[in-house]
């Protein structure tokens, strides 16, 4: 269940295809791509800070939790750090299971946990200066459904 935390861009299509072809016995592969959003239309860039060492450890623990809960054949998490432009891919998650319900649920679970349990912090640089993105109560609340 590979976990990659990297500054470099990744090729979502190639990663998804390689993941799907490597997931032997899977009846379902679910992928999610997170993209830098520019709600105000003035975002110059986003910078993602992380905690080297803890980041990989936290994501590995989250994927282990997901595979204890659903029968996953494989899972992949790629998360970038450093400066990113609007429209660029921030992260992706992929899950493979025998049936789609498990693959979807596990991907959803991984996303909820990555949002508020993986040590990343986003800072937005726009027309009005720079500001750290605040964690939303709804992100924390989302964990209670699991």
């Amino acid at each position: 269940m590979p976990v990659r935390v990297q500054a470099e861009p990744f090729d979502f299509g190639a990663e998804a295809a390689a993941f799907a072809s490597g997931a032997g016995g899977a009846g379902a592969v679910v992928t999610f791509l997170g993209v830098v959003r520019d709600d105000s239309g003035t975002l110059a860039r986003m910078e993602i800070e992380h905690y080297p060492g803890m980041t990989e450890r936290a994501i590995t623990a989250i994927t282990a939790k997901a595979s204890a809960r659903w029968h996953l054949l494989d899972a992949l998490v790629i998360h970038r750090h450093g400066p990113l432009q609007p429209g660029e891919a921030i992260m992706m998650v992929a899950t493979a299971a025998r049936h789609r319900a498990e693959a979807f649920a596990a991907a959803d679970f991984l996303m909820d946990y990555l949002k508020s349990r993986a040590p990343f912090w986003k800072k937005e640089f726009g027309a009005d200066g720079a500001a750290w993105v605040k964690a939303k109560d709804s992100d924390e609340d989302a964990l209670s459904r699991w």
Partner: protein, 81 residues
């Protein structure tokens, strides 16, 4: 022990990492000790309910003991994904 700061906590403290010699027995004691040192610590730790702490890279509570801990990290709630 090594004390690490991330995101706006790092910006308020003015450095990402430092070595702290302390007799503090819990995270809360360590915070109280740092706050007394300089204004920048008081500014960073003004509201600990807005902060998270990790001990040796595992999330912990502010009431957690520091016995045997080598690395303490303070940061705001995480915003991954």
């Amino acid at each position: 022990m090594d004390v690490l700061y991330f995101a706006w906590v790092r910006e308020r403290i003015g450095q990402p990492k430092e070595r702290v010699e302390t007799e503090a027995t819990t995270v809360a004691d360590l915070v109280a000790e740092l706050v007394l040192r300089e204004e920048r610590y008081a500014a960073a730790f003004a509201d600990t309910s807005a902060l998270r702490v990790a001990l040796d890279q595992e999330l912990a509570e502010f009431s957690a003991p520091l016995v045997g801990v080598r690395e303490v990290a303070f940061f705001p709630p995480m915003t991954g994904g």
